[in-house]
């Protein structure tokens, strides 16, 4: 994948397919300590220890149309090639947490890319999902929770184009603020 934000989109699709109703996305960027960390937590059906053990192997999947599941292996190798690692923590009936870290300054670390696009794609096609998106850059933090806008929306879906337009602006403003003009 060209961007780390595409891995996030892909991994959250797994969460949705695992029946998750809540997803927590965390990104921590700290160039000063050379850390780039991404955490994806869901409350889906989870995996057995055997599945977790095999999950970074491309020949493990629950899919039936194709025998090879590539999402986690791709994310794993993206982390490994950039001086980092990926850890999967899961419990049946509780959910799954995927934690990937990268060396911030590693030449092979893919750029984060379009996080706003990733979140809009997720919400646009999964309007009922509750999403928490927490993004830290150095000592600044931005947080967006779908929960906080549900009441205001009344009977209008979060996937309504006008609502997604508002979310797009809100996220862009929030990220611009934490980056403070330093990047993107």
């Amino acid at each position: 994948m060209r961007e780390l934000s595409l891995h996030i989109l892909d991994i959250v699709q797994n969460s949705i397919e695992a029946g998750a109703s809540e997803v927590i996305l965390e990104i921590n960027e700290d160039p000063d300590s050379d850390l780039f960390e991404m955490i994806i937590r869901d409350n889906g059906r989870g995996m057995t220890p055997e599945m977790v053990q095999g999950v970074t192997d491309p020949f493990v999947t629950t899919r039936t149309t194709r025998k090879v599941g590539l999402g986690i292996p791709l994310f794993h190798s993206a982390a490994e090639q950039a001086g980092g690692d990926l850890v999967v923590d899961s419990e049946v009936g509780k959910g799954t947490t995927i934690r990937a870290n990268f060396s911030y300054k590693h030449i092979d670390r893919a750029p984060l890319g379009d996080m706003v696009g990733t979140i809009l794609a997720l919400l646009g096609s999964n309007p009922r999902m509750e999403l928490v998106y927490r993004h830290r850059y150095k000592d600044k933090e931005f947080e967006f929770r779908t929960e906080d806008i549900r009441e205001t929306l009344e009977d209008i879906e979060i996937s309504h184009p006008m609502i997604l337009g508002w979310i797009r602006n809100h996220l862009q403003d929030g990220l611009a603020e934490i980056y403070g003009g330093e990047r993107e």
Partner: protein
């Protein structure tokens, strides 16, 4: 930061336009969002679809997603279902093609023949 007050105004506008077209049967657009689709550009296709729908003020369309359907080499895949018509599956769609599908197929009911990979 965008305020909740702005969001409330938008919600009211959305509710009004929803009321106007009650009883309509809408179309459905499905975008392949498996690993293969995402790697091939499905996120950008979905953004283009949503943007074009918004620009054209089409509000009786549901946009949703599916996982890998087994024809990864044809990704990004877009399926269009219009009421009373057969399902049309388009392959190797990019942002520009996605916009044309909205203009021609969704808005005017004309299938864009060149990019169809199957109908049912």
């Amino acid at each position: 930061m965008k305020t909740l007050k702005e969001l409330e105004e938008l919600r009211k506008k959305a509710q009004e336009s929803t009321r106007l077209r009650e009883g309509d049967k809408g179309s459905k657009i499905v975008i392949g969002m498996g690993t293969c689709g995402i790697a091939a550009g499905a996120r950008e296709v979905m953004a283009a679809v949503m943007d074009e729908i918004n620009k054209r003020d089409i509000d009786d369309v549901v946009v949703t997603q599916t996982g890998c359907v087994g024809v990864c080499e044809q990704e990004p895949i877009v399926e269009v279902m219009r009421p009373g018509q057969e399902k049309v599956t388009y392959g190797r769609i990019d942002e520009e093609k996605a916009r044309k599908i909205i203009a021609q197929h969704i808005a005017n009911g004309q299938i864009v023949g060149d990019w169809v990979i199957s109908t049912s």
